[in-house]
Point group: none
Chain length 292, copies 2
DNA sequence: GATCATTTGTGAATTATTGCACAGAAGAAG
DNA sequence: CTTCTTCTGTGCAATAATTCACAAATGATC
């Protein structure tokens, strides 16, 4: 089986006319070119080059073979050009996976400014269950509330998500004992914010359950009761106000994960910086200016 | 600068779908294939392959690059085929098919001088029925007495085969009415020389039939009777003499046929020239210095 | 004709690549 | 659910390739 690298070196020798010239162009020793061409001759059982003291002209057979190999050279150059084009287009779309609320309310509002600064990078944003593993075929980057356990991932803590209890002003004015609550359904009882909610019920009822925060927020806005929302959702909703609580609400870390190989590309680094900045501002790791 | 061998290994991985399958086909370790492909990815700054625990599917970029590299594979295979063709022509054996008498008496005696002039070309000479089609698997060149009807063959008229009636001197001195004749068997009654023979019998008997000219010549030499032989056979035999005849004997053209693609090779051209020269001298198309 | 510059070939030291052996993961089979 | 088979990744020893240094030959220059 021919070593294609032998073909490559032969191709350059054919074009330049000497081992030394070919070696200079290839960036190797002239002896290496000589040995590679000799190896090709042995593979093909053909005499390709006449070896003279100061030059190495092709034989007739060498010329015939060189014509075909020249086409390979042309293709190899096409591969490089295509690769350069793909490098640009390959990093043009960065796919982000994040918990739905984080995606929609924390990240999406800032995509406009990101795009303005980086028109050559397109973001694709997808909501995902908060503990879903990063899947290479679905996303390039993931924001998670649980620290991933997979080895060999790049993992950075980029923010702290704080929660609070929110209701309408009308609901907030009612006696605390009369308050009703909105929660996740039972399958999500393990979530820190759900555990916290159950710990402050003090006998008061959960009268509505929803599977995502959007539904809970809408129910709260409708005056149904009080819901535990992330501060970036609750504080940003003019119809809702925070309610006082006896126990400090939970804080959950936000983690950014990526595969190390793709995280090295410039576009990926740009997007990772953007996410870290946005989330770091909205959900700083160390609380500042936000009342406890 | 891309290592072309990296491209080669990537090409096989692209086609087979796994490092292990590619390794088997290439005859190397799977680790080597993995490293080669990683090297290519680094050279191109592209992610070509998703590395899963049990398979290595191509990325979209990998598929794009693989299409170009597949063309290189095709060219590499062309290089090998071309090289095999060049090896054969370099150590040329040219196979000739000719009517047995032409082969043995017209061509074979000159092979010695041909070999002296062209020690790098070996001739393989085979007798064949005179109307046998040129068969690529059996002969590279054919000499025929009937113009071939196949299209796409190279066909050249290279000589004219003349016949005469020959017998021993003792037989020649007998009264013409007492002469007996030697002929082909009935299956060859369509041959021009057999038709001619029957036309001059004038009631005299055919007392021996043979299927080839050698047998007829040997029978004539034994004094059995008169036989119709090509002049290059009869005139060259000191035991035989021409007999006078009332009707001019037949003349049959000699045709050289070959496939156009192989007839372009230098060795083939050399042999074709040799045959045209030999047959042109012994059986000139236009009679000269030969008595009627 | 002598000298210089450049090329090719080759032995040996240095460097890179490959194969080997093993571990971990996942799909198939029982 | 357990076991087996096959695949990929990786550290290290073995092997192969390359570089280095030198010699010989040739064409150009003086």
């Amino acid at each position: 089986m021919i070593d294609w690298q032998d073909l490559h070196y032969f191709s350059v020798l054919a074009r330049t006319g000497s081992l030394s010239a070919a070696a200079r162009e290839l960036g190797v020793d002239h002896a290496t070119v000589g040995r590679r061409v000799a190896s090709l001759e042995q593979s093909l059982s053909l005499h390709l080059v006449d070896r003279l003291p100061r030059r190495s002209p092709l034989t007739a057979e060498g010329t015939a073979i060189a014509e075909l190999v020249a086409e390979m050279t042309s293709l190899s150059q096409s591969v490089e050009r295509r690769a350069r084009g793909l490098v640009v287009s390959a990093t043009a779309t960065v796919r982000i996976s994040a918990p739905p609320a984080v995606a929609a309310r924390l990240i999406a509002p800032h995509v406009v400014e990101f795009h303005r600064e980086h028109p050559d990078i397109m973001l694709a944003l997808a909501g995902a269950a908060q503990n879903a593993a990063l899947d290479r075929s679905e996303a390039d980057l993931a924001v998670r509330m649980i620290r991933p356990t997979e080895k060999d991932l790049l993992i950075r803590r980029i923010g702290a998500m704080r929660f609070a209890l929110y209701a309408t002003r009308e609901q907030a004015e009612r006696p605390p004992a009369a308050l009703a609550f909105i929660a996740y359904d039972a399958t999500l009882d393990h979530l820190a914010q759900q555990v916290w909610l159950r710990s402050i019920l003090a006998g008061r009822p959960i009268i509505f359950q929803a599977s995502d925060l959007f539904g809970q927020q809408e129910a709260a806005r409708a005056g149904l009761g009080a819901a535990v929302l992330p501060c970036f959702m609750g504080d940003g909703d003019s119809m809702l106000v925070r309610l006082p609580v006896d126990k400090p609400p939970p804080v959950r870390d936000l983690w950014l994960t990526a595969y190390p190989d793709v995280s090295r590309s410039p576009a990926m680094r740009t997007v990772m910086t953007f996410l870290a900045d946005i989330i770091g501002r909205e959900c700083p790791i160390r609380a500042s200016r936000s009342p406890e």
